[in-house]
Subunit: 203 residues, 2 copies
């Protein structure tokens, strides 16, 4: 059996990452959305092992020390990271694993797992991103401008990714994601077992 | 506008290349199946510029001398090759171009156009290929064995390709081909113009 593909999925806030993943994952069982570990406290309704793996700072640091985190970062005094074991269990079982992570963590993955497919989601234009943020009606103009300038900053990392998905529509973006994952499985380096089987027939 | 992708499509005879292409290309206008040039005489019904570009040996050799062939080979005393101009006109117009060519020509393309996506089509197993060849009922057992041993020889080139499509069913293989072509367009190096546009907004 061929191994699953590790997929890194990033993009500026407001670009629709969650909605694309939700659309793409709906009904699929051969793809797993990785669950992050964090030292922050659970919010009401959050379940350990579903939304996050909730760890103490001591547990988290121990994992780092034993190379148990594929990537991690510290935001606002809390640690966030991707536990190595849960990812590799799935990959070894032939299941693709998607990590929805920030640029900082993504670049750690790129360094440690060069075979990972790095995907960056972008809005069709800054104008479109602005009108989406305004359209939500949940934020005042000052906050919109702040988020736009943050997005512009985050998007500078795009050239370091392997693939760019432009979120014109959710359907198109989800199909793009599907095309990338399907093509990863077709890569020659991921078909070594198949090639072995074929070439050893009646050898 | 982003450039089209150059796609090399090879595989042993009997693996279903033509049927997969036919299925995939049906109704598409954004993909062009390249037309080869040859010095062999047209067969009844063959049309110049449709089935092949029919050239004299002098014309063909002149093209080679002026770097006008992306790849070429000589079989049974006749030249076959891919005219460079017709391919690049399409690519520059944003149209993907598929070259259905033999391994020898494919490896020339890989050397000269490292950005090309190299796809190799394979039967699910040698056993399945044998039963497909026998099932046609058009060849005696000696010919079947000869074609099988030829296929085994051709398939040794598979590891030099970027992607392997296993022809379990025509539908699945055509969808695999679609996934590879779609993912090529998403590659960061093929989205430079989009990135430029986004980053120069309100700069």
């Amino acid at each position: 059996m061929n191994k699953g593909t590790l997929v890194v999925f990033s993009g500026p806030s407001g670009c629709g990452k969650d909605t694309i993943l939700q659309k793409y994952l709906d009904g699929r069982e051969d793809v797993f959305l990785s669950i992050s570990a964090t030292t922050r406290s659970p919010r009401p309704g959050e379940v350990d092992g579903v939304n996050y793996f909730f760890l103490s700072e001591e547990q988290f640091k121990k994992k780092i020390a034993h190379d148990g985190m594929l990537e991690y970062a510290c935001y606002c005094g809390n640690y966030y990271g991707t536990p190595r074991d849960s990812v590799y269990q799935k990959l070894n079982a032939g299941i693709d694993v998607i990590l929805e992570i920030e640029v900082q963590g993504a670049l750690q993955i790129k360094e440690r797992c060069p075979e990972a497919a790095m995907i960056f989601v972008m809005p069709p234009s800054m104008e479109e991103l602005r009108s989406r943020l305004v359209g939500r009606g949940t934020e005042d103009m000052e906050t919109v401008e702040k988020r736009l300038s943050q997005a512009r900053e985050e998007m500078k990392a795009a050239p370091q990714y392997d693939y760019i998905i432009v979120n014109n529509t959710i359907e198109q973006a989800a199909e793009d994601l599907h095309a990338v994952l399907r093509s990863q499985r077709l890569k020659t380096e991921n078909q070594k077992e198949f090639l072995n089987e074929v070439f050893h027939y009646d050898a």
